[in-house]
């Protein structure tokens, strides 16, 4: 069952329910890019 839950979570990670994490990561990258503009 534990293995199954892990698989389930992994699958859900790439579905809408977990997309918040991906969007958050991209937004964090955007903030870092913003901070890197001085090096451009």
């Amino acid at each position: 069952m534990k293995k199954s839950i892990k698989k389930h979570k992994k699958l859900f990670y790439i579905t809408i329910r977990r997309m918040g994490d991906l969007v958050g990561l991209l937004l964090l990258l955007a903030a870092i890019l913003f901070a890197l503009r001085g090096f451009g």
């Binding site: 199954s4 389930h8 329910r17 937004l27 913003f34 901070a35 090096f39």
Partner: protein, 437 residues
């Protein structure tokens, strides 16, 4: 035709991402603000992104009916919750990183230097913590739903107001003036959405009142409210959808709760059924016929898919959206193959069980009762919903079915997991969770 799709999901996420970036994009548009070092700029960047997410929380709050059908209401609320935590982290990281980069910025919190600014920033810091903690642990704090709603709305608006004012005052990144005006314009729109939900919608709903025609007891301490429209035609809804109801003469009351419609569609009377669980539902049995009610909705995409048979996994009072589907199918003589797995603790607590037997006579419905504590001599399914149980009762051609789950959280988790293990595409699994807050 499928309602959930990767394409739609991708479109909305891209749309969300771009909108969340708007404050940051405004900051770097046309004129570039003077660069002040990497660490400080990361702190500022997180502040802008956090503000962007915060504004979008008002749009993705689950009350904008145009957005919900692409995902399902519970997914939107789940997303709202996740993004709220993210905004909380980003916004709190904003002062921490800036102060670590240059401790001179601590003076922003110094009441001696600028009292309104210090008070506003201290307010935002505390308000953010209260807002997030009260949403995650509302029940642990013993906060009633009404009070939580009030706190959530007031604090959200307060944080938004201070956030935008702070960006305006600092001005370093939002100079010239047009940048500030655009930012304020966008956030004024987000703020308006709260105003619209809490004031405009109730104002409009007061022209379309309803009244309680009768209150019927059901099995397992459940009560059904029969609501009839007063002076209007009623509400167009799809079976499986839900409404927000306010009971009493005042449409602006904070007491507003979501309930699945249990009646068939295409009829003026609407029924909702609830179990005596919370403060609100405990009062239902004492509601007098003739009591005024205001309904908002319909909401939700937990509705039958055209051309697909139905596999319903329902637990306890989670049966309510399925009742609307089944009653509608019975009324319309819809002969799609339907399998209902209905889990309950005990036989005497199976709400609507007599009516389900009647519906079985009229449409192609197979009801499989699952009891945790079956009576002596019970020959049906027993225990909890799990993969083996679903597999035993699975349709021969699962590809012809859409799958619906509604019930207590443990059952819902188990059923979702089991359906995935049985190879069902997530886009064919519809689940409705109301216990988000």
């Amino acid at each position: 035709m499928m309602k959930y799709s990767y394409r739609k999901g991708f479109f909305w996420l891209l749309f969300y991402f771009v909108l969340a970036l708007v404050p940051l994009l405004i900051a770097v548009a046309v004129t570039r603000p003077e660069y002040r070092g990497f660490a400080l700029e990361v702190g500022v960047g997180l502040g802008f992104v956090g503000l962007g997410i915060l504004g979008l929380q008002f749009l993705f709050s689950g009350r904008i009916s145009q957005i919900a059908p692409s995902f399902g209401m519970d997914n939107i609320l789940q997303y709202h919750r996740e993004m709220g935590i993210l905004a909380f982290l980003f916004i709190l990281a904003h002062p921490v990183i800036i102060i670590l980069a240059d401790s001179d910025f601590l003076r922003y919190f110094d009441p001696g230097e600028n009292l309104p600014r210090a008070l506003a920033l201290i307010f935002v810091t505390i308000a953010l913590i209260v807002l997030t903690a009260s949403s995650i642990w509302r029940l642990k704090f013993g906060l009633s739903y009404e009070n939580w709603r009030l706190v959530h709305g007031v604090l959200s608006l307060g944080i938004l107001f201070v956030g935008v004012s702070h960006s305006w005052q600092v001005a370093h990144y939002l100079d010239p003036l047009w940048k500030r005006i655009i930012l304020v314009g966008i956030f004024a729109f987000y703020g308006y959405l709260v105003f619209h939900t809490r004031l405009v919608r109730p104002w409009l709903s007061r022209k379309k009142p309803w009244k309680v025609a009768k209150v019927n007891p059901e099995r397992d301490n459940c009560w059904t409210l029969h609501l009839v429209p007063v002076g209007h035609k009623g509400m167009d809804f799809k079976c499986g959808q839900f409404i927000w109801i306010t009971l009493g003469p005042n449409p602006f009351a904070l007491q507003q709760h979501p309930f699945s419609i249990t009646s068939a569609c295409d009829q003026p009377e609407i029924t909702i059924t609830a179990k005596e669980l919370g403060d609100f539902t405990a009062t239902w049995k004492d509601i007098e016929p003739g009591t005024k009610a205001f309904l908002e909705g319909p909401f939700g995409s937990f509705t039958p898919v055209k051309g697909k048979n139905l596999f319903l996994v329902m637990g306890g009072i989670g049966i309510t959206p399925a009742m609307s589907m089944l009653r509608t199918m019975q009324k319309q003589q819809d002969q799609r193959e339907t399998i209902l797995i209905y889990a309950n603790p005990r036989w005497e607590e199976v709400t609507f069980r007599e009516e389900l037997e009647e519906i079985q006579q009229d449409i192609d419905l197979k009801v499989i009762h699952v009891l945790e504590e079956p009576p002596e001599g019970w020959e049906g399914e027993e225990g909890l919903v799990n993969t083996e149980l679903l597999e035993r009762n699975f349709p021969e051609k699962p590809g012809d079915f859409a799958f619906y789950i509604c019930g207590p959280k443990p059952m819902q988790d188990a059923a979702e997991l089991s359906l995935r293990d049985l190879g069902i595409d997530w886009r064919l699994i519809y689940s409705e969770r109301f216990k988000i807050i």
